[in-house]
Symmetry: C2
Subunit: 272 residues, 2 copies
């Protein structure tokens, strides 16, 4: 294999493949100089399908490549078949289940699809209701039932409110609204009126003026809205507003939605 060929990587599962991808990508992110050619094969439901995957992987080995396989298959005959492949195999359940069975003094169920299935119906339903709530309360569209919010994300336009709200709703079932700060909010004293009863639920976002100007330029090039001057004004005003009301805030410029969400959950003491 030429050293600069991307390394073939497989995420295999008898269910969605989400855990295999998450686990695998976390490990691969520790090798930032390497290139990987990723393939996810979910829903491997029987030994024949598993054998076809093994043949595919072993074909690459025969070509001199060094594939890496992350597997979260649970069903024992499928796991056994995948285990015969000649690649570097990282078998999540195989590695740890025995240890957990000992600690818990309970045998594992060995049924696939439990991690990202409907699982706890009440918890699943609350995530779906949270998505609906977040859609309805995006960008201050509705102020109805704001008292039901566990969190209100506050920020000038284009600081990352919407994707962060969606992530918190979808992944964690958090009832999150978001509310845009606009010029008139900065001209008045105090918090925007709809937020006043809920200051304890507010969390602010800010970013860097240059970055905000770039993001807004993609939307409305050359507009006053996208100007560095306007962006700087809004961000300074927003940060002053947060500080004067004791609203915690973070700078979204160099953070992913995942990092922002984890930070917000932690700082606001929200149960995941």
């Amino acid at each position: 294999m030429a050293n600069d060929d991307p390394c073939p990587v497989f995420f295999l599962s008898d269910s969605t493949g989400i855990t295999a991808e998450t686990l695998g990508n976390t490990l691969l992110s520790q090798f930032p100089t390497m290139e990987f050619d990723r393939t996810t094969i979910p829903f491997i439901l029987n030994v024949e399908q598993a054998q076809a995957v093994v043949d595919l992987v072993d074909g690459l080995v025969a070509e001199g490549k060094k594939p890496i396989v992350f597997s979260t298959a649970v069903t024992s005959d499928i796991r056994h078949t995948l285990g015969t492949c000649q690649a570097t195999l990282i078998d999540l359940l195989g590695t740890y289940l025995g240890q957990l069975e000992t600690t818990l003094a309970t045998p594992a169920s060995n049924e696939p699809g439990r991690a990202h299935g409907l699982g706890n119906a009440a918890r699943y339903q609350s995530r779906m209701t949270a998505v609906e709530y977040a859609m309805e309360h995006d960008d201050g569209q509705s102020l109805r039932a704001l008292e039901k919010a566990q969190l209100i994300l506050v920020a000038p336009s284009r600081c990352g409110k919407t994707p962060t709200t969606m992530y918190l709703a979808l992944q964690h079932g958090i009832f999150a609204a978001n509310f845009p700060l606009v010029d008139e909010d900065f001209e008045r004293e105090g918090l925007p009126k709809p937020l006043q009863p809920f200051v304890d639920k507010c969390f602010g976002l800010t970013t860097n003026p240059l970055r905000l100007s770039q993001v807004r330029t993609q939307r409305r090039e050359g507009s006053p809205y996208a100007s560095l001057r306007q962006c700087g004004f809004e961000l300074r005003s927003a940060e002053r507003l947060y500080a004067s009301h004791g609203i915690p805030f973070l700078n979204s410029a160099s953070m992913s939605v995942e990092e922002m969400s984890a930070t917000i959950l932690q700082q606001m003491h929200l149960k995941r």
Copy 2:
């Protein structure tokens, strides 16, 4: 410890904790009869913080409990400190990095926060743009730039279009629109006009009439919209429409958004 006390579980990380939670919850889902008391502690940034966590966990051990710790800490002194705790410790990176270093003939970077940080800026940006696209194209709100969609989810109201679209956008950066089927679409022959040029991008959802009626009843109790008769009519009509245009579809009644998304990606050959 009384056997029916929930088992304390910790997800520890020097970054967001997402991988620790995903890995841990997948493993714990193999013990469906057990109860767990879960705590996520992200952003453990130094040895002092790590030691405080160890003290917390060891305090539980001293009380006779058997905590389980899932850790994805990367930084070696933090990992080392966490490794001194007396609980059952599942250390993802410790387990597998050596094996990967050998296969890849490259040392791991040992820098935290790579998995769920901004990472590849272009890929991250495309996910955020996909969320924006999904918001704009939710429920047929906008038909602008429908040709940019990689996927158009089609279904009667309340079959799960919105959360599935959001999940595909946020997690996988898929440009997904969704389009509601209503009575007038069933009265006419053929596909709704806006969809006609894009039949290859369409994927249908259906559900069970009883389940749909229950979901709609939560929204508008006693309405014709929520009646079992109307729900049955819409679902039968939608399924007939899918079949007559060769639109693949699935039944969302017993599937999670994660399962639906994985199925759709696979069937539509969309790159994750």
